[in-house]
């Protein structure tokens, strides 16, 4: 019997729900794929049809959290604040929504979101990066950042490096409420916007190419 699309989606959702529960209760490292399958009520082999590894599930949870964060950001007053503040708002809101995922962010950064990951557009890591950077590009255009600079490969790569750096910092930040991360993020966003401002004022020798 063929499994319908809706059944597949429903199974996928059960797996994600199981992961959300067990990663918090038992911790990411201690949770096995067998545990996940049992919680989701499926065979372990079936689990791999949906998610090739635990890290992929972790990334799925992060994608959900990031999407919720972007909804919250979209609901905020779009008119106020400079570009550095807007970028701060985006990343800080994501980090807040990612809090339940903090225990396994490092594992994901080392795999799907690693700078060495293939980053294919439709891979989960590629999707995470693409969705985030699309929002970034929209913000940059709205703020009138010179288009060529704002959407250049260098600018997006620099930003992504800072973003991943802040996430990595946050994953290991043991200060109260991870307040050091807020400071690091404040610094990083100002740094990026300063660079954008100074790069945009020079005769552009940067390729005006958007790289996915």
């Amino acid at each position: 019997m063929r499994i319908t699309e809706s059944a597949k989606l429903e199974t996928q959702q059960r797996i994600v729900t199981a992961a959300r529960k067990l990663f918090v209760e038992k911790g990411f490292d201690a949770t096995t794929t067998r545990d996940l399958a049992a919680e989701a009520g499926i065979a372990t082999g079936t689990l791999f049809n949906y998610f090739p590894a635990k890290e992929a599930l972790a990334l799925e949870l992060m994608l959900e959290a990031a999407a919720a964060a972007r909804l919250e950001v979209a609901g905020r007053d779009a008119a106020s604040g400079g570009l550095a503040e807007k970028l701060f708002l985006l990343v800080a809101t994501e980090i807040r929504h990612l809090r339940p995922c903090r225990g396994f962010v490092k594992a994901v950064l080392e795999t799907s979101l690693s700078p060495f990951a293939s980053g294919e557009a439709e891979s989960p890591g590629g999707r995470y990066r693409r969705e985030h950077l699309q929002l970034l590009e929209r913000m940059l255009r709205e703020h009138g950042a010179e288009v060529a600079v704002a959407t250049s490969f260098i600018a997006l790569h620099l930003y992504w490096t800072l973003y991943i750096g802040v996430l990595a910092f946050w994953a290991e930040d043991d200060s109260p409420n991870q307040e050091e991360t807020l400071v690091a993020l404040d610094q990083a966003t100002r740094l990026f916007v300063d660079w954008l401002g100074s790069a945009g004022s020079q005769p552009s020798h940067l390729p005006g190419v958007v790289k996915e």
């Binding site: 701060f88 807040r96 307040e179 690091a184 100002r190």
Partner: protein, 469 residues
């Protein structure tokens, strides 16, 4: 002395990187490694380097000159080690972006007056002012959420997104309490700044103190202790809330002194919500060209405030400056900013009472009282010049207390004498043996300085007799 500022700057270490002589100093190596990797917590990237301006370089060069002159007589190998420590200290100083404003001001003064003595330099150093970078509203929102559990828009009505005033290491916003519509001021500290500064000061001490220095080195060490103490006081808003609570109880309605009430359910160690008091700070108030009567009225209030807190609540407002006072339209005084306060112990109160009694009524007992209050060693007790200076200081303090009628605090001669005596006391560190005396000396001068700027004439004797009972 004839210091040439250009030559000073030339003498700054070129690269501020440690030399090979550090190889044997493992703990220093480890610290520098850690410094190299630690994120700089404050400031915008092009200006993170606090020594990037000419004024910054002047201040750093002066520090280097002073320290070098202190170890000039050391052996060659010690000199090399000291030089390495000096470079490390300057490197760390450069990353202290929260001191950038103060370092620039220091450099400005030194650039204009290069002959200022090292002791004066140290005194200014001891009053260095920390400044946090401004928080945009998105950062502030996350910060408030961490501290109070929800967004400021949810906790307050009409929370203004732009700060209306700077605070020690933070900023102040107007808002309203939703339940009463009462106007409040919400003071919020920049995240993690207190911890960062504390760590930096500890690192600075670790780098500097092994240096084999002579002369005024102890002064620098004490200034550091003062800086740390000030930092602890100014960044603990819970302690400030307690100081405000004590201060509010000290005044009656007739005193015309308004101390803001704190709202503890919306306050933490890093967020302080209190009544908003509207008024002018000193400069703006003076620009309105107030009458002598109004100046005198506010002068009475300022003195009454200081005395009631001291005698009644045993609370010392340790760093009185114009930012603490608001001159209100209805003639009342707003008394705000209780971040820098010290409590008198019972023992200190007893000593102070003894000194005051001697000062005003039994001058033959003054020396003895000062020896006890200052906790002087036998050697110090034999130092006639020291005792003479302390007596002269007390004499200066007591002058308006002995005067029948309104004492004219506008007189330059009185204030000038006080500044000179204070300068001598600091230079010779005569009040360091009992730390509270340092704060009190500052307070006594600070209040009189305020009255001088206000141009007030006040019957201090009458107020003192009324308050001290």
């Amino acid at each position: 002395m004839g210091l040439n500022v250009s030559e000073l700057i030339e003498a700054l270490p070129a690269d501020l990187e440690p030399t090979q002589s550090l190889a044997s100093d493992a703990s220093l190596q480890a610290m520098l490694q850690e410094l190299a990797h630690r994120p700089v917590p404050v400031g915008r990237f092009p200006r993170l380097w606090a020594l990037g301006t000419l004024q910054g370089k002047i201040a750093a060069a002066y520090l280097a000159w002073f320290l070098r002159s202190s170890y000039a007589s050391a052996e060659k190998k010690e000199e090399a080690l000291n030089e390495a420590h000096l470079k490390a200290a300057l490197k760390l100083l450069g990353t202290m972006g929260y001191l950038r404003g103060a370092i620039m001001k220091l450099g400005q003064v030194l650039g204009a007056y290069p002959d200022v003595a090292p002791e004066q330099f140290m005194e200014v150093l001891g009053r260095l002012h920390f400044e946090a970078p401004a928080m945009h509203f998105s950062l502030l929102r996350e910060n408030v959420r961490n501290e109070l559990g929800d967004d400021p828009e949810a906790l307050f009505a009409d929370f203004e997104t732009e700060a209306f005033a700077a605070a020690s290491l933070g900023q102040v916003h107007r808002a309203r309490l939703p339940e009463s519509n009462r106007a409040v001021a919400v003071k919020i500290q920049y995240p993690n700044i207190a911890r960062t500064i504390r760590q930096d000061l500890e690192n600075f001490k670790t780098i500097m103190f092994p240096m084999r220095l002579s002369g005024d080195w102890d002064n620098l060490r004490e200034q550091f202790t003062d800086m740390v103490t000030t930092l602890e006081m100014e960044t603990d808003y819970e302690q400030e809330a307690e100081n405000l609570r004590i201060a509010r109880l000290a005044f009656a309605e007739a005193d015309e002194i308004d101390v803001p009430r704190v709202y503890p359910e919306r306050s933490t160690r890093r967020v302080l919500t209190m009544d908003l008091i509207e008024g002018l700070h000193l400069d703006d108030f003076l620009a309105t060209n107030p009458s002598q009567e109004v100046r005198d009225r506010h002068g009475r209030q300022i003195l009454l405030a200081a005395m009631k807190l001291s005698y009644g609540s045993h609370l010392l407002h340790a760093d009185p400056h114009p930012g603490n006072y608001l001159f209100q339209r209805d003639g009342r005084l707003g008394y705000i900013d209780f971040g820098c306060c010290q409590r008198y112990t019972d023992q200190i109160v007893a000593y102070l009472e003894e000194v005051e009694e001697a000062m005003l009524r039994s001058p033959e007992r003054l020396r003895e009282a000062l020896i006890r209050a200052g906790d002087l060693t036998p050697k110090q007790q034999q130092d006639a010049a020291r005792l003479r200076l302390m007596e002269d200081w007390c004499d200066w303090v007591a002058e308006p207390l002995r005067y029948d009628g309104a004492f004219d605090f506008a007189a330059d001669s009185y204030l000038q004498r006080g500044i000179e005596l204070y300068g001598e006391l600091v230079r010779r560190r005569y009040f360091r043996s009992q730390p509270i005396n340092t704060w009190m000396t500052r307070q006594l001068l600070g209040v009189r300085l305020m009255l001088h700027r206000l141009g007030a004439r006040v019957n201090m004797k009458e107020i003192h007799e009324r308050v001290s009972g």
